[in-house]
Subunit: 248 residues, 2 copies
DNA sequence: CGCCGTGTTGACTATTCTCAACCCAGGTGG
DNA sequence: CCACCTGGGTTGAGAATAGTCAACACGGCG
């Protein structure tokens, strides 16, 4: 998969700091406390699960490198990917809900996750209200993305839906430096795209062909190129505001 | 609309306290601080908007009475309802994102909203880490609901989708006392149901008929009755865990 | 070499949408 | 009091979108 070259381009020591700085500059003390809390760095292979639906929450996972997703499996076996995780993103701030995971987290590309222990989260949020707000902010951004996805599957046709996803992922990758000109990695299989968009794999294939035919994308060897981002955004009714990225 | 009788049954002074107590008991000081922060109580008529997409955030809205929704409108004019708001629910904890609303909030039934000023939110979260966690928890529950909705529109057919929505709303209404036996208010038009489920109004109508034919629901005069909740839950692959309600 | 996962294609089916008409109840103005 | 209007709800017919099943191509890898 040629796209692998594009992936490890996020050079900041801890991409979480970079992400939170989109909200507010953190004091050096806060930065240090947060960095120190990121222990247990663990490599995850492509398509390996980090934590499964139903398991007790282990702490807060932070993606340092790679690309991952969160998904739910229905009783009938079908799978829905409910969000993507880009370096700097947090999962399961839900430690607060002392229950079990209501969804799974799995790697897409080979990745590195750090874990913040529940007690460390407790301590951080007791001690640093500003940091707490920054973390909270990040969950609110996530929420905004979820809302936009609902709009997508609810109101957009297959073509716009897929275009919208590509725009979103391109913007998110670019915001963490994981892009190259108008290209970024797109290590998803067509089946996974379908599980994201609520489409069958066959229909994904045909929709991709249509996007290619309209010269809005090329996708090959795990590399997505958007030669006409504006055109694609127009087609998809994409407006990046909901991503709350400063660096646009 | 006969369902109106069912609506004002939430008798607790501030349903927000009731809701947060699902997470953790709040100290009486925390309770008082939170109650004091709820100022500017404002009645909202049915179908009146509380705040519109694009407007600057005014503070945190708390629904005290009634039933409301959050929705987004696309450039092409279509509308998607992205969540429902029952008494005790908070909106726009996103004051932290000092931007504009990326969605609108509108009443469904006649409602009462309180507003917590941005500064009051700041103060509360500076002073009470436990309370902050409780508020944060509530946004995480919201997030879990959004994820479940994505699964619904992505993977479930019209029948299960609608059944799932009815189960969810029944559970949420019941958790705040807004139910009567196996019935609750359902003051949504078929068009609004469609805008929630990503279906046309016509198809909503036919799907409702099918649910009725299977004796899983009755819906009439704004009152929804679920005579066979287990059956409906089975059909819809509904599992209430994601709602994180203690009182089930 | 042969297998397996992924992508591609065709033919057929199912689901859902759109358009248009019609019904009914409640509210309004004459 | 009635005629009218309006906003939901309902129905039918035909079209569009998306799903299913089955076959095949291709490349990587044991």
């Amino acid at each position: 998969m040629g796209g692998a070259r594009l992936l490890p381009q996020c050079h900041m020591a801890n991409p979480l700091l970079r992400k939170l700085s989109n909200f507010r500059a953190l004091s050096s003390e806060e930065q240090r406390a947060l960095t120190d809390a990121c222990t247990d760095i663990r490599p995850i292979a492509a398509r390996e699960d980090v934590i499964l639906q139903g398991q007790p929450t282990a702490g807060v996972h932070v993606l340092l490198e790679g690309f991952a997703c969160r998904y739910k499996v229905l009783e009938n076996g079908r799978r829905q990917i409910v969000s993507y995780v880009v370096p700097g993103d947090l999962c399961d701030l839900r430690v607060f809900i002392h229950g079990r995971m209501d969804h799974s987290i799995g790697g897409i590309s080979p990745s590195k996750f750090a874990l913040i222990a529940p007690q460390a989260v407790q301590d951080l949020t007791d001690r640093y209200p500003q940091l707490t707000r920054a973390l909270w902010w990040s969950t609110l951004v996530e929420e905004a993305i979820l809302r936009e996805w609902i709009v997508g599957v609810g109101q957009r046709g297959a073509l716009e839906r897929m275009g919208h996803l590509f725009c979103e992922l391109f913007f998110r990758f670019r915001a963490v430096g994981m892009h190259y000109g108008t290209s970024c990695a797109m290590p998803l299989t067509q089946l996974e795209l379908g599980e994201t968009l609520g489409l069958s794999a066959v229909h994904v294939n045909r929709t991709l062909q249509e996007l290619r035919r309209q010269h809005l994308i090329t996708l090959e060897g795990g590399v997505l190129t958007l030669p006409d981002l504006d055109g694609l955004a127009r087609l998809s009714l994409f407006n990046p505001d909901y991503l709350h990225l400063n660096s646009a």
